[in-house]
Protein backbone atom coordinates (compact mmCIF):
# COMPACT_ATOMS: atom_id res chain seq x y z
CA UNK A 1 0.00 0.00 0.00
CA UNK A 2 1.04 3.62 -0.49
CA UNK A 3 2.38 4.11 3.01
CA UNK A 4 5.09 1.50 2.48
CA UNK A 5 6.19 2.87 -0.84
CA UNK A 6 6.42 6.43 0.25
CA UNK A 7 7.90 6.07 3.72
CA UNK A 8 11.55 5.77 2.68
CA UNK A 9 10.96 7.97 -0.36
CA UNK A 10 10.05 10.90 1.79
CA UNK A 11 13.24 10.71 3.81
CA UNK A 12 15.30 11.13 0.67
CA UNK A 13 13.53 14.31 -0.38
CA UNK A 14 16.09 17.07 0.07
CA UNK A 15 13.80 19.94 -0.91
CA UNK A 16 11.45 19.54 2.06
CA UNK A 17 11.93 22.41 4.54
CA UNK A 18 12.99 21.39 8.01
CA UNK A 19 10.25 23.47 9.55
CA UNK A 20 6.77 23.27 8.11
CA UNK A 21 5.67 26.29 10.11
CA UNK A 22 7.76 29.24 11.20
CA UNK A 23 6.30 32.21 13.06
CA UNK A 24 8.42 35.23 14.03
CA UNK A 25 7.01 37.97 16.20
CA UNK A 26 3.52 37.18 15.01
CA UNK A 27 1.12 39.91 16.13
CA UNK A 28 -2.58 40.47 15.63
CA UNK A 29 -4.54 43.43 16.95
CA UNK A 30 -8.25 44.12 16.65
CA UNK A 31 -8.59 47.85 17.23
CA UNK A 32 -7.16 48.43 20.72
CA UNK A 33 -7.14 44.76 21.64
CA UNK A 34 -3.96 42.80 21.08
CA UNK A 35 -5.04 39.19 20.58
CA UNK A 36 -1.60 37.83 19.66
CA UNK A 37 1.36 39.76 20.99
CA UNK A 38 4.60 38.95 19.20
CA UNK A 39 4.84 35.18 19.44
CA UNK A 40 7.56 33.12 17.74
CA UNK A 41 7.76 29.38 17.22
CA UNK A 42 8.80 26.79 14.65
CA UNK A 43 7.30 23.39 14.03
CA UNK A 44 9.29 20.61 12.30
CA UNK A 45 7.53 18.10 10.04
CA UNK A 46 5.83 15.27 11.89
CA UNK A 47 5.72 16.99 15.25
CA UNK A 48 2.61 17.27 17.33
CA UNK A 49 2.67 20.84 18.54
CA UNK A 50 0.25 22.34 21.03
CA UNK A 51 -0.94 25.79 22.03
CA UNK A 52 -2.18 25.57 25.59
CA UNK A 53 -3.96 28.46 27.22
CA UNK A 54 -7.25 29.73 28.61
CA UNK A 55 -10.10 31.08 26.48
CA UNK A 56 -9.10 34.38 24.93
CA UNK A 57 -5.37 33.66 25.06
CA UNK A 58 -5.02 34.13 21.30
CA UNK A 59 -4.87 30.45 20.31
CA UNK A 60 -7.67 30.51 17.75
CA UNK A 61 -6.41 33.74 16.24
CA UNK A 62 -3.00 32.16 15.76
CA UNK A 63 -4.64 29.15 14.10
CA UNK A 64 -6.58 31.42 11.75
CA UNK A 65 -3.43 33.22 10.74
CA UNK A 66 -1.74 29.88 10.00
CA UNK A 67 -4.75 28.90 7.88
CA UNK A 68 -4.49 32.18 5.97
CA UNK A 69 -8.03 33.22 6.89
CA UNK A 70 -6.89 35.99 9.21
CA UNK A 71 -4.30 38.58 8.31
CA UNK A 72 -1.51 39.31 10.76
CA UNK A 73 -0.89 42.85 11.91
CA UNK A 74 2.88 42.38 11.91
CA UNK A 75 5.57 39.72 12.06
CA UNK A 76 6.44 36.89 9.71
CA UNK A 77 4.73 33.60 9.06
CA UNK A 78 5.59 30.87 6.60
CA UNK A 79 3.77 27.59 6.03
CA UNK A 80 5.57 25.04 3.84
CA UNK A 81 7.79 27.93 2.81
CA UNK A 82 4.85 30.09 1.70
CA UNK A 83 3.21 33.19 3.13
CA UNK A 84 -0.43 32.28 3.85
CA UNK A 85 -1.56 35.85 3.17
CA UNK A 86 -0.03 36.00 -0.29
CA UNK A 87 -0.77 32.41 -1.25
CA UNK A 88 -3.92 31.57 0.70
CA UNK A 89 -5.40 28.87 -1.56
CA UNK A 90 -1.98 27.31 -2.18
CA UNK A 91 -1.10 27.15 1.53
CA UNK A 92 -4.51 25.71 2.40
CA UNK A 93 -4.00 22.99 -0.22
CA UNK A 94 -1.47 21.55 2.26
CA UNK A 95 -3.65 21.95 5.32
CA UNK A 96 -6.47 20.08 6.97
CA UNK A 97 -8.49 22.35 9.22
CA UNK A 98 -10.75 21.38 12.13
CA UNK A 99 -12.29 24.65 13.31
CA UNK A 100 -13.45 25.24 16.86
CA UNK A 101 -17.09 25.03 15.81
CA UNK A 102 -18.16 22.37 13.37
CA UNK A 103 -19.15 23.87 10.06
CA UNK A 104 -20.35 20.74 8.31
CA UNK A 105 -22.62 21.16 5.32
CA UNK A 106 -26.04 20.46 6.84
CA UNK A 107 -27.73 20.34 3.45
CA UNK A 108 -25.65 17.34 2.42
CA UNK A 109 -25.53 13.79 3.71
CA UNK A 110 -22.59 12.49 5.71
CA UNK A 111 -20.66 10.86 2.87
CA UNK A 112 -21.49 13.69 0.47
CA UNK A 113 -19.91 16.10 2.93
CA UNK A 114 -16.60 14.33 2.36
CA UNK A 115 -16.98 14.13 -1.42
CA UNK A 116 -17.95 17.78 -1.84
CA UNK A 117 -15.18 18.96 0.48
CA UNK A 118 -12.69 16.99 -1.59
CA UNK A 119 -13.98 18.68 -4.72
CA UNK A 120 -13.15 22.04 -3.15
CA UNK A 121 -9.52 20.90 -3.22
CA UNK A 122 -9.85 20.08 -6.90
CA UNK A 123 -9.67 16.31 -6.36
CA UNK A 124 -11.28 13.88 -8.83
CA UNK A 125 -14.26 11.69 -7.92
CA UNK A 126 -12.34 8.52 -8.85
CA UNK A 127 -10.02 9.28 -5.93
CA UNK A 128 -12.67 10.70 -3.60
CA UNK A 129 -15.16 7.83 -3.59
CA UNK A 130 -12.85 5.16 -2.12
CA UNK A 131 -11.17 7.80 0.02
CA UNK A 132 -14.50 8.88 1.54
CA UNK A 133 -15.31 5.29 2.47
CA UNK A 134 -11.88 4.86 4.00
CA UNK A 135 -12.31 8.01 6.08
CA UNK A 136 -15.81 7.03 7.21
CA UNK A 137 -14.28 3.81 8.45
CA UNK A 138 -11.57 5.78 10.26
CA UNK A 139 -14.18 8.03 11.88
CA UNK A 140 -16.38 5.02 12.75
CA UNK A 141 -19.23 6.48 10.74
CA UNK A 142 -19.59 3.89 8.00
CA UNK A 143 -23.16 3.02 8.98
CA UNK A 144 -24.06 6.72 9.01
CA UNK A 145 -22.85 7.35 5.46
CA UNK A 146 -26.33 8.15 4.16
CA UNK A 147 -27.58 9.96 7.26
CA UNK A 148 -28.22 13.65 7.45
CA UNK A 149 -25.64 15.64 9.37
CA UNK A 150 -28.39 16.84 11.76
CA UNK A 151 -28.92 13.31 12.97
CA UNK A 152 -25.36 12.91 14.26
CA UNK A 153 -24.34 13.33 17.91
CA UNK A 154 -21.79 15.97 18.90
CA UNK A 155 -18.98 13.43 19.00
CA UNK A 156 -19.91 12.02 15.59
CA UNK A 157 -19.99 15.49 14.05
CA UNK A 158 -16.58 16.18 15.45
CA UNK A 159 -15.22 12.93 14.03
CA UNK A 160 -16.79 13.73 10.68
CA UNK A 161 -15.16 17.16 10.73
CA UNK A 162 -11.80 15.52 11.39
CA UNK A 163 -12.39 12.93 8.66
CA UNK A 164 -13.29 15.76 6.31
CA UNK A 165 -10.08 17.60 7.14
CA UNK A 166 -8.11 14.55 5.98
CA UNK A 167 -9.71 14.27 2.55
CA UNK A 168 -6.79 16.01 0.78
CA UNK A 169 -4.14 14.00 2.65
CA UNK A 170 -2.85 17.13 4.35
CA UNK A 171 0.74 17.53 5.50
CA UNK A 172 -0.40 19.64 8.42
CA UNK A 173 -3.57 19.23 10.45
CA UNK A 174 -4.86 22.26 12.39
CA UNK A 175 -7.13 21.31 15.29
CA UNK A 176 -8.77 24.13 17.20
CA UNK A 177 -10.04 22.75 20.50
CA UNK A 178 -10.90 19.39 18.97
CA UNK A 179 -12.66 17.90 22.00
CA UNK A 180 -14.31 20.89 23.68
CA UNK A 181 -17.92 20.04 24.52
CA UNK A 182 -17.53 16.27 24.10
CA UNK A 183 -18.24 13.67 26.75
CA UNK A 184 -15.27 11.66 28.12
CA UNK A 185 -15.91 8.60 25.97
CA UNK A 186 -16.16 10.63 22.78
CA UNK A 187 -12.96 12.45 23.73
CA UNK A 188 -11.06 9.20 24.18
CA UNK A 189 -12.18 7.88 20.80
CA UNK A 190 -11.04 11.12 19.24
CA UNK A 191 -7.67 11.08 20.98
CA UNK A 192 -7.13 7.58 19.71
CA UNK A 193 -7.84 8.69 16.13
CA UNK A 194 -5.53 11.67 16.45
CA UNK A 195 -2.82 9.52 17.93
CA UNK A 196 -2.98 7.23 14.89
CA UNK A 197 -2.57 10.21 12.60
CA UNK A 198 0.45 11.30 14.58
CA UNK A 199 1.93 7.82 14.21
CA UNK A 200 1.54 8.17 10.47
CA UNK A 201 3.68 11.27 10.45
CA UNK A 202 1.05 13.99 10.12
CA UNK A 203 2.12 17.28 11.66
CA UNK A 204 -0.54 18.18 14.22
CA UNK A 205 -1.09 21.72 15.42
CA UNK A 206 -3.50 21.65 18.29
CA UNK A 207 -5.02 24.25 20.57
CA UNK A 208 -6.61 23.22 23.81
CA UNK A 209 -7.40 24.40 27.28
CA UNK A 210 -7.42 20.84 28.57
CA UNK A 211 -4.12 19.90 30.12
CA UNK A 212 -4.82 16.17 29.83
CA UNK A 213 -5.37 16.57 26.12
CA UNK A 214 -2.10 18.46 25.75
CA UNK A 215 -0.26 15.80 27.76
CA UNK A 216 -1.76 13.00 25.69
CA UNK A 217 -1.21 14.43 22.25
CA UNK A 218 1.58 17.00 22.21
CA UNK A 219 5.28 16.33 21.70
CA UNK A 220 5.95 19.94 22.47
CA UNK A 221 3.81 22.89 23.38
CA UNK A 222 3.74 26.55 24.13
CA UNK A 223 1.80 27.90 27.06
CA UNK A 224 0.01 31.04 25.88
CA UNK A 225 -1.62 33.71 27.99
CA UNK A 226 -2.87 37.12 26.87
CA UNK A 227 -1.31 36.65 23.47
CA UNK A 228 2.19 35.92 24.78
CA UNK A 229 4.24 32.76 25.13
CA UNK A 230 4.81 32.04 28.82
CA UNK A 231 6.83 28.85 28.40
CA UNK A 232 7.80 26.30 25.79
CA UNK A 233 8.81 22.64 25.95
CA UNK A 234 7.58 19.06 26.12
CA UNK A 235 4.82 18.39 28.68
CA UNK A 236 7.26 16.46 30.89
CA UNK A 237 9.93 19.15 30.70
CA UNK A 238 7.47 21.91 31.49
CA UNK A 239 6.24 20.04 34.55
CA UNK A 240 9.82 19.38 35.63
CA UNK A 241 10.82 23.01 35.14
CA UNK A 242 7.81 24.75 36.56
CA UNK A 243 6.35 22.38 39.11
CA UNK A 244 7.26 19.69 41.60
CA UNK A 245 6.79 15.97 41.13
CA UNK A 246 3.67 15.74 43.28
CA UNK A 247 0.90 17.95 44.52
CA UNK A 248 -1.10 17.65 47.73
CA UNK A 249 -4.58 19.09 47.35
CA UNK A 250 -6.38 20.01 50.56
CA UNK A 251 -9.89 21.30 51.09
CA UNK A 252 -10.76 22.96 54.35
CA UNK A 253 -14.11 24.42 53.30
CA UNK A 254 -14.53 27.73 51.54
CA UNK A 255 -14.21 29.90 54.67
CA UNK A 256 -11.02 28.40 56.02
CA UNK A 257 -9.09 27.88 52.72
CA UNK A 258 -7.96 31.49 52.67
CA UNK A 259 -6.83 31.74 56.27
CA UNK A 260 -5.16 28.35 56.61
CA UNK A 261 -2.11 29.42 54.60
CA UNK A 262 -0.10 30.61 57.59
CA UNK A 263 -0.63 27.35 59.46
CA UNK A 264 0.66 25.33 56.48
CA UNK A 265 3.80 27.45 56.14
CA UNK A 266 6.94 25.41 55.56
CA UNK A 267 5.28 22.25 54.30
CA UNK A 268 6.43 21.34 50.77
CA UNK A 269 8.26 23.72 48.47
CA UNK A 270 5.48 26.06 47.56
CA UNK A 271 1.91 26.80 48.53
CA UNK A 272 -0.90 27.93 46.27
CA UNK A 273 -4.22 29.05 47.73
CA UNK A 274 -7.24 28.82 45.44
CA UNK A 275 -10.83 29.74 46.38
CA UNK A 276 -11.89 26.11 46.74
CA UNK A 277 -8.65 24.36 47.77
CA UNK A 278 -5.05 24.71 48.85
CA UNK A 279 -2.28 23.18 46.75
CA UNK A 280 1.02 22.14 48.31
CA UNK A 281 3.82 21.51 45.79
CA UNK A 282 6.22 18.88 47.02
CA UNK A 283 8.36 15.94 45.92
CA UNK A 284 6.61 13.65 48.36
CA UNK A 285 2.90 14.19 48.75
CA UNK A 286 2.34 11.51 51.38
CA UNK A 287 5.05 12.94 53.62
CA UNK A 288 3.52 16.39 53.28
CA UNK A 289 0.11 15.01 54.23
CA UNK A 290 1.59 13.41 57.36
CA UNK A 291 3.13 16.74 58.27
CA UNK A 292 -0.27 18.42 57.91
CA UNK A 293 -1.80 15.87 60.29
CA UNK A 294 1.14 16.25 62.69
CA UNK A 295 0.33 19.98 62.95
CA UNK A 296 -3.16 19.04 64.07
CA UNK A 297 -4.87 20.30 60.91
CA UNK A 298 -7.88 18.33 59.73
CA UNK A 299 -8.74 18.98 56.04
CA UNK A 300 -12.20 17.90 54.84
CA UNK A 301 -10.61 16.09 51.92
CA UNK A 302 -7.06 15.46 50.81
CA UNK A 303 -5.59 14.13 47.60
CA UNK A 304 -2.05 13.39 46.47
CA UNK A 305 -1.53 13.50 42.73
CA UNK A 306 1.19 13.98 40.13
CA UNK A 307 1.86 17.46 38.84
CA UNK A 308 0.14 18.36 35.58
CA UNK A 309 0.26 21.13 33.02
CA UNK A 310 -2.52 22.79 34.98
CA UNK A 311 0.00 23.37 37.76
CA UNK A 312 2.50 24.74 35.25
CA UNK A 313 -0.08 27.18 34.04
CA UNK A 314 -1.03 28.18 37.57
CA UNK A 315 2.61 28.79 38.38
CA UNK A 316 3.18 30.87 35.25
CA UNK A 317 0.08 33.02 35.36
CA UNK A 318 -1.31 32.75 38.86
CA UNK A 319 -4.63 31.63 37.41
CA UNK A 320 -6.20 28.30 36.58
CA UNK A 321 -6.76 27.21 33.01
CA UNK A 322 -10.44 26.42 33.12
CA UNK A 323 -12.38 28.91 35.20
Amino acid sequence: MPANETGPERDKEPAAPRYVITAENLTKTYGDVTAVDGISFSVPAGESFGLLGPNGAGKSTTMKMIGGVSQRTSGNLTIMGLDPEQNGPEVRAHLGVVPQQDNLDEELKVRDNLLVYGRYFGLPMSYLKPKADELLEFAQLTDKAKSKVDALSGGMKRRLTIARSLINEPRILLLDEPTTGLDPQARHILWDRLFRLKEQGVTLILTTHYMDEAEQLCDRLIVVDKGRIMAEGSPAALIRDYSTREVLELRFGSERNASIGAELEGIGERLETLPDRVLIYTHDGEAALEEVSARGLRPLTSLVRRSSLEDVFLRLTGRSLVD
Binding site: S70, G88, D105, G122, E169
Partner: protein, 277 residues
Amino acid sequence: MTLLTQGHAVTEEARNRRFGPLYSRNARAVIGRGLMATKSSNWMVMLSGFFEPVLFLISMGVGMGAVVGSVAGPGGQEISYAAYIAPALLAVSAMNGAVYDSTWNVFFKMNFAKLYQGMLYTSLGPLDVAIGEIFLALLRGLLYATGFTAVMGLMGLITTPWALLMIPASVLIAFGFASFGMGITSFMKTFQQMDWVNFIMLPMFLFSATFYPLSVYPEYIQWLIQAMPLWHGVELLRQISAASFTPATAIHVGYYLVMIVLGLMLTTGRLRSLFLK
Protein backbone atom coordinates in the same frame (compact mmCIF):
# COMPACT_ATOMS: atom_id res chain seq x y z
CA MET B 1 -4.89 0.52 8.88
CA THR B 2 -3.35 1.94 5.76
CA LEU B 3 -4.85 5.36 5.99
CA LEU B 4 -4.05 8.05 4.61
CA THR B 5 -2.04 11.09 4.58
CA GLN B 6 0.39 10.49 1.82
CA GLY B 7 0.91 8.43 -1.21
CA HIS B 8 -1.85 9.33 -3.65
CA ALA B 9 -0.47 11.08 -6.70
CA VAL B 10 -3.73 12.98 -7.24
CA THR B 11 -3.46 14.81 -3.94
CA GLU B 12 0.04 15.97 -4.90
CA GLU B 13 -1.27 17.05 -8.28
CA ALA B 14 -4.07 19.00 -6.66
CA ARG B 15 -1.53 20.78 -4.47
CA ASN B 16 0.69 21.67 -7.40
CA ARG B 17 -1.98 23.38 -9.44
CA ARG B 18 -1.53 27.06 -10.18
CA PHE B 19 -3.27 29.21 -7.59
CA GLY B 20 -3.97 32.91 -7.42
CA PRO B 21 -4.37 34.75 -4.13
CA LEU B 22 -8.17 35.01 -4.61
CA TYR B 23 -8.98 32.42 -7.23
CA SER B 24 -8.00 28.81 -7.71
CA ARG B 25 -9.99 28.15 -10.90
CA ASN B 26 -12.29 25.75 -9.14
CA ALA B 27 -15.69 27.49 -9.11
CA ARG B 28 -17.16 24.27 -10.52
CA ALA B 29 -16.71 22.60 -7.12
CA VAL B 30 -18.96 25.28 -5.59
CA ILE B 31 -21.48 24.75 -8.40
CA GLY B 32 -21.38 20.99 -7.91
CA ARG B 33 -22.08 21.43 -4.23
CA GLY B 34 -25.07 23.67 -4.98
CA LEU B 35 -26.57 21.17 -7.39
CA MET B 36 -26.14 18.34 -4.92
CA ALA B 37 -27.78 20.37 -2.15
CA THR B 38 -30.68 21.38 -4.41
CA LYS B 39 -31.36 17.77 -5.26
CA SER B 40 -32.26 17.04 -1.65
CA SER B 41 -34.15 20.21 -0.74
CA ASN B 42 -35.46 23.51 -2.01
CA TRP B 43 -37.82 22.08 -4.62
CA MET B 44 -40.90 23.81 -3.26
CA VAL B 45 -39.14 27.15 -3.07
CA MET B 46 -37.93 26.72 -6.61
CA LEU B 47 -41.40 25.90 -7.89
CA SER B 48 -43.06 28.80 -6.11
CA GLY B 49 -40.56 31.17 -7.74
CA PHE B 50 -41.64 29.82 -11.12
CA PHE B 51 -45.39 29.96 -10.51
CA GLU B 52 -45.51 33.49 -9.14
CA PRO B 53 -45.08 35.28 -12.48
CA VAL B 54 -47.24 32.69 -14.23
CA LEU B 55 -50.08 33.44 -11.83
CA PHE B 56 -49.60 37.16 -12.41
CA LEU B 57 -49.68 36.61 -16.15
CA ILE B 58 -52.93 34.68 -15.95
CA SER B 59 -54.71 37.02 -13.55
CA MET B 60 -53.47 40.34 -14.92
CA GLY B 61 -52.99 39.36 -18.54
CA VAL B 62 -56.13 37.36 -19.05
CA GLY B 63 -58.34 38.98 -16.38
CA MET B 64 -57.28 42.61 -16.63
CA GLY B 65 -56.62 42.11 -20.32
CA ALA B 66 -60.34 41.51 -20.89
CA VAL B 67 -61.04 44.99 -19.52
CA VAL B 68 -58.04 46.79 -21.03
CA GLY B 69 -58.19 45.26 -24.50
CA SER B 70 -55.17 45.92 -26.68
CA VAL B 71 -52.40 48.43 -26.04
CA ALA B 72 -49.55 49.98 -27.99
CA GLY B 73 -46.49 47.69 -28.12
CA PRO B 74 -42.83 48.75 -28.19
CA GLY B 75 -42.86 49.49 -31.92
CA GLY B 76 -46.20 51.29 -31.70
CA GLN B 77 -48.16 48.28 -33.02
CA GLU B 78 -51.33 47.08 -31.27
CA ILE B 79 -50.74 44.04 -29.04
CA SER B 80 -52.85 42.28 -26.42
CA TYR B 81 -52.41 43.40 -22.83
CA ALA B 82 -51.15 39.93 -21.91
CA ALA B 83 -48.47 40.14 -24.61
CA TYR B 84 -47.56 43.58 -23.24
CA ILE B 85 -46.98 42.51 -19.64
CA ALA B 86 -45.59 39.00 -20.28
CA PRO B 87 -41.99 40.06 -21.07
CA ALA B 88 -42.07 42.41 -18.09
CA LEU B 89 -43.11 39.55 -15.84
CA LEU B 90 -40.33 37.45 -17.31
CA ALA B 91 -37.85 40.15 -16.34
CA VAL B 92 -39.36 40.17 -12.85
CA SER B 93 -39.04 36.43 -12.55
CA ALA B 94 -35.38 36.56 -13.65
CA MET B 95 -34.83 39.22 -10.99
CA ASN B 96 -36.70 37.29 -8.30
CA GLY B 97 -34.87 34.02 -8.93
CA ALA B 98 -31.48 35.71 -8.92
CA VAL B 99 -32.24 37.86 -5.91
CA TYR B 100 -33.66 34.99 -3.89
CA ASP B 101 -30.57 32.89 -4.53
CA SER B 102 -28.09 35.66 -3.98
CA THR B 103 -29.70 37.26 -0.92
CA TRP B 104 -31.72 34.91 1.29
CA ASN B 105 -29.79 31.81 0.32
CA VAL B 106 -26.44 33.54 0.65
CA PHE B 107 -27.47 35.22 3.91
CA PHE B 108 -28.31 31.88 5.42
CA LYS B 109 -25.15 30.20 4.18
CA MET B 110 -23.01 33.08 5.38
CA ASN B 111 -24.43 33.60 8.84
CA PHE B 112 -25.96 30.31 9.91
CA ALA B 113 -24.64 27.41 7.90
CA LYS B 114 -21.08 28.83 7.95
CA LEU B 115 -20.77 27.32 4.51
CA TYR B 116 -18.39 29.89 3.07
CA GLN B 117 -16.20 29.72 6.14
CA GLY B 118 -15.79 26.00 5.48
CA MET B 119 -15.11 26.56 1.79
CA LEU B 120 -12.46 29.16 2.47
CA TYR B 121 -10.57 26.76 4.73
CA THR B 122 -9.91 24.70 1.60
CA SER B 123 -7.88 25.69 -1.42
CA LEU B 124 -10.86 27.64 -2.77
CA GLY B 125 -10.47 31.42 -3.01
CA PRO B 126 -13.24 33.98 -2.45
CA LEU B 127 -13.61 34.53 -6.19
CA ASP B 128 -14.28 30.81 -6.73
CA VAL B 129 -17.07 31.03 -4.16
CA ALA B 130 -18.56 34.19 -5.68
CA ILE B 131 -18.51 32.87 -9.24
CA GLY B 132 -19.93 29.51 -8.19
CA GLU B 133 -22.81 30.96 -6.19
CA ILE B 134 -23.68 33.49 -8.87
CA PHE B 135 -23.62 30.79 -11.52
CA LEU B 136 -26.17 28.83 -9.47
CA ALA B 137 -28.40 31.88 -9.28
CA LEU B 138 -28.12 32.20 -13.07
CA LEU B 139 -28.99 28.58 -13.58
CA ARG B 140 -32.16 29.12 -11.62
CA GLY B 141 -32.86 32.27 -13.64
CA LEU B 142 -32.38 30.25 -16.83
CA LEU B 143 -34.83 27.58 -15.69
CA TYR B 144 -37.47 30.15 -14.74
CA ALA B 145 -37.02 32.04 -17.99
CA THR B 146 -37.27 28.91 -20.09
CA GLY B 147 -40.38 27.76 -18.26
CA PHE B 148 -42.03 31.14 -18.49
CA THR B 149 -41.22 31.50 -22.17
CA ALA B 150 -42.82 28.10 -22.73
CA VAL B 151 -45.95 29.30 -20.93
CA MET B 152 -45.99 32.41 -23.12
CA GLY B 153 -45.76 30.16 -26.15
CA LEU B 154 -48.66 28.04 -24.95
CA MET B 155 -50.76 31.16 -24.42
CA GLY B 156 -50.03 32.28 -27.96
CA LEU B 157 -48.08 35.34 -26.84
CA ILE B 158 -44.99 34.58 -28.93
CA THR B 159 -45.24 35.90 -32.44
CA THR B 160 -41.62 36.01 -33.63
CA PRO B 161 -38.66 33.59 -33.38
CA TRP B 162 -36.64 36.55 -32.04
CA ALA B 163 -38.59 36.10 -28.85
CA LEU B 164 -36.41 33.11 -27.98
CA LEU B 165 -33.63 35.64 -27.34
CA MET B 166 -35.60 36.56 -24.23
CA ILE B 167 -34.07 33.49 -22.55
CA PRO B 168 -30.40 34.54 -22.76
CA ALA B 169 -31.45 38.15 -22.08
CA SER B 170 -33.15 36.95 -18.87
CA VAL B 171 -29.91 35.29 -17.84
CA LEU B 172 -28.13 38.60 -18.38
CA ILE B 173 -30.70 40.31 -16.15
CA ALA B 174 -30.33 37.59 -13.53
CA PHE B 175 -26.53 37.97 -13.66
CA GLY B 176 -26.77 41.68 -12.92
CA PHE B 177 -29.05 41.16 -9.93
CA ALA B 178 -27.19 38.13 -8.60
CA SER B 179 -23.74 39.69 -8.65
CA PHE B 180 -25.01 42.78 -6.85
CA GLY B 181 -27.35 40.90 -4.53
CA MET B 182 -24.57 38.79 -3.10
CA GLY B 183 -22.36 41.80 -2.45
CA ILE B 184 -25.19 43.68 -0.73
CA THR B 185 -26.13 40.66 1.35
CA SER B 186 -22.62 40.54 2.77
CA PHE B 187 -23.40 43.78 4.64
CA MET B 188 -26.53 42.33 6.27
CA LYS B 189 -26.35 41.06 9.80
CA THR B 190 -29.98 40.48 10.83
CA PHE B 191 -33.27 39.30 9.38
CA GLN B 192 -34.72 42.78 9.78
CA GLN B 193 -32.09 44.13 7.46
CA MET B 194 -32.94 41.42 4.96
CA ASP B 195 -36.49 42.79 4.84
CA TRP B 196 -35.07 45.89 3.21
CA VAL B 197 -34.43 43.77 0.17
CA ASN B 198 -38.19 43.20 -0.19
CA PHE B 199 -38.78 46.85 0.54
CA ILE B 200 -36.79 47.71 -2.58
CA MET B 201 -37.92 44.84 -4.76
CA LEU B 202 -41.68 45.21 -4.42
CA PRO B 203 -41.94 48.85 -5.56
CA MET B 204 -39.45 48.14 -8.32
CA PHE B 205 -41.68 45.29 -9.48
CA LEU B 206 -44.87 47.37 -9.39
CA PHE B 207 -43.61 50.62 -10.86
CA SER B 208 -40.94 49.73 -13.44
CA ALA B 209 -43.36 50.07 -16.36
CA THR B 210 -44.31 46.49 -15.70
CA PHE B 211 -48.07 46.88 -16.10
CA TYR B 212 -48.36 50.19 -17.97
CA PRO B 213 -46.04 52.44 -19.97
CA LEU B 214 -43.57 54.81 -18.39
CA SER B 215 -45.32 57.78 -20.01
CA VAL B 216 -48.04 57.85 -17.33
CA TYR B 217 -45.49 59.33 -14.88
CA PRO B 218 -44.35 62.94 -14.60
CA GLU B 219 -40.89 63.40 -16.06
CA TYR B 220 -38.88 63.38 -12.81
CA ILE B 221 -40.42 60.07 -11.77
CA GLN B 222 -39.61 58.73 -15.21
CA TRP B 223 -35.94 59.56 -14.64
CA LEU B 224 -35.99 57.80 -11.33
CA ILE B 225 -37.55 54.66 -12.80
CA GLN B 226 -35.07 54.70 -15.66
CA ALA B 227 -32.20 54.71 -13.22
CA MET B 228 -33.46 51.45 -11.70
CA PRO B 229 -32.19 48.16 -13.09
CA LEU B 230 -35.55 46.43 -13.49
CA TRP B 231 -36.87 49.02 -15.93
CA HIS B 232 -33.97 48.26 -18.28
CA GLY B 233 -34.76 44.57 -18.04
CA VAL B 234 -38.45 45.11 -18.71
CA GLU B 235 -37.75 47.30 -21.71
CA LEU B 236 -35.10 44.97 -23.09
CA LEU B 237 -37.36 41.92 -22.99
CA ARG B 238 -40.36 43.85 -24.29
CA GLN B 239 -38.33 44.98 -27.29
CA ILE B 240 -37.07 41.46 -27.92
CA SER B 241 -40.56 39.96 -27.65
CA ALA B 242 -41.74 42.19 -30.47
CA ALA B 243 -38.43 42.06 -32.40
CA SER B 244 -38.39 45.83 -32.23
CA PHE B 245 -34.77 46.83 -31.71
CA THR B 246 -33.54 50.41 -31.26
CA PRO B 247 -30.30 52.03 -30.06
CA ALA B 248 -31.87 51.88 -26.58
CA THR B 249 -31.52 48.08 -26.74
CA ALA B 250 -27.75 48.49 -26.55
CA ILE B 251 -28.10 50.84 -23.58
CA HIS B 252 -30.21 48.30 -21.70
CA VAL B 253 -27.65 45.56 -22.36
CA GLY B 254 -24.80 47.90 -21.43
CA TYR B 255 -26.54 48.80 -18.15
CA TYR B 256 -26.47 45.13 -17.14
CA LEU B 257 -22.89 44.58 -18.27
CA VAL B 258 -21.75 47.44 -16.03
CA MET B 259 -23.91 46.13 -13.19
CA ILE B 260 -22.32 42.69 -13.52
CA VAL B 261 -18.75 44.00 -13.42
CA LEU B 262 -19.39 46.30 -10.45
CA GLY B 263 -21.33 43.59 -8.63
CA LEU B 264 -18.57 41.02 -9.03
CA MET B 265 -15.98 43.48 -7.77
CA LEU B 266 -18.13 44.33 -4.78
CA THR B 267 -18.89 40.71 -3.93
CA THR B 268 -15.30 39.46 -4.19
CA GLY B 269 -14.02 42.38 -2.18
CA ARG B 270 -16.63 41.82 0.51
CA LEU B 271 -16.02 38.08 0.74
CA ARG B 272 -12.33 38.78 1.07
CA SER B 273 -12.79 41.28 3.88
CA LEU B 274 -15.41 39.16 5.64
CA PHE B 275 -13.57 35.87 5.65
CA LEU B 276 -9.92 36.77 5.27
CA LYS B 277 -9.72 39.47 7.90
